[in-house]
Symmetry: D3
Subunit: 113 residues, 6 copies
């Protein structure tokens, strides 16, 4: 059956909050990195989130797919843009990227509804 990506996202937030509390200094460093890396610059945040999503797919990281699909949606990424980012991931990741890319598309449909 299809995964419930919304409750997945909610649980991920809770888990990450617990980690931030357990390791505050390293996690603050990570947050600075993430904030600076995804800030709008020569490339806008939407593009960077699609980039992070494509990496997440090739990294086989379901939680990251949840996180960055939600971020991409929040910054206005369309389903078509998402599908094109998935295609780049498939070019760079082969069969496993098809599997995780198909999850990303399902996540997009669920999290944007």
């Amino acid at each position: 059956m299809a995964k419930d990506w919304k409750s997945e996202a909610t649980h991920l937030d809770k888990r990450m909050a617990a980690l931030f509390k357990a390791a505050p200094k390293p996690m603050q460093g990570f947050q600075s990195l993430m904030g600076a890396a995804s800030a709008s610059g020569q490339l806008d945040t939407k593009t960077k989130e699609l980039m992070a999503l494509a990496i997440a797919i090739t990294q086989h990281c379901e939680g990251c797919i949840t996180f960055h699909t939600r971020q991409a949606i929040g910054h206005g990424a369309s389903r078509e843009e998402c599908a094109e980012a998935i295609a780049v991931a498939v070019e760079m990741g082969g069969g496993p990227a098809v599997v995780y890319g198909a999850q990303a598309l399902e996540a997009y449909d669920d999290l944007s509804s």
Copy 2:
């Protein structure tokens, strides 16, 4: 509890069909690649599917394990051949390959029953 690999396979097929519809041209390219790579040649398709399964195990890709275990079974791979492919994956992937290899064996038993 043991995973229900058959319904996993069914859902994977559905998810991948959605991705093929969303990104038809890249996915046609991938299908040509997959078709040509797994076609019987100097090595037969069964061997190639076991090879893909061994890679899937070292890639930590559960969906790929589902897919290629089913393919290997469809091309006549025995449980013993499957176990030997898993062993090569363990040689090349260490502990994580034990974990995913053990899933592959469970998938074999479920999908071949």
Copy 3:
């Protein structure tokens, strides 16, 4: 919802036992390797299990997180030590290690309770 790491661990043990039975010789080799690698030497077993856990996080291997968190707890690793190992994994693995590190912390809390 939070994962039930205890039943996850139980099922993992069962799955791995099936693999040991299906491929006894390679698995005996793996067990010798694992036994020798985790034996107390210049570094003690607790430290080595935390090291294996940090690797498991960067490898995105949930079953390995289950296994090595349980081992680390069994050798007396505290929650704080576990959080510090997770932080090293985040340094070496970025965002995906945050996701899997957060799982490891949840696993610690569940398996040590």
Copy 4:
């Protein structure tokens, strides 16, 4: 000393040509996939090449860094855009992405000169 990325690129082309000759059908499938995945659509080719570069960095693939840096330059990517793609890779890949990202920047400077 700094790597000579131009001669690296030349040798890569030669090696890949040999592979295309040895396995023409799978490689034609891969080329269709790559062509379709990098074609301009909702996202333009420059953006897609930067995306592929970011993935290459997190995949620790030096030849891919060579290839996609050259492609990104060919489609007009600036050094600043390249640096931002590297930053996303570091967010998603941690320390190893710093190492390979630093290679990508050196490759950019060499291949664009």
Copy 5:
């Protein structure tokens, strides 16, 4: 320029011998694992070495490509069989597998000459 795979292989042997001396017990475990995993059974050693080579390509491990190409040649693998194993790796690993697969073919030509 083309890599000198023969001297690469020689240096790899020397490096690994040093590791076996520095960590004899874990390395004996690994050797038992490798010996059992590659022993002829339902699948013959040549096939298993090609499988290990395909995994090495998707793992982006140049030393492993050197090692398992040499082993595959030693067990009678033809250039065509090698190219077919590379194609399976490309199916499962995308662009990076093209890069490392092209290295494997070069290694085959060098090590078999």
Copy 6:
């Protein structure tokens, strides 16, 4: 021939300095993360550097092996401790970790001389 790890380290430093200059904000975030993750706490810095080294080996990242071997040496890690960290990496990474672990040992011998 054996690699010259000292000049490797020098060039790595230069490359990373260029990246820090090109992407100052994300790199400052990464530095905060790295500083906090490797700071002495429940586990001391030497142990954390050996942990990072073990991860670097399983990540197949030669530059990271250079970096963290040097760090581990700087914090007093002995060759025996290094060999034990390599063994944990082999347990968790199989054959490719043997290859990269053997590099780490060579790096230790070169960088500590």
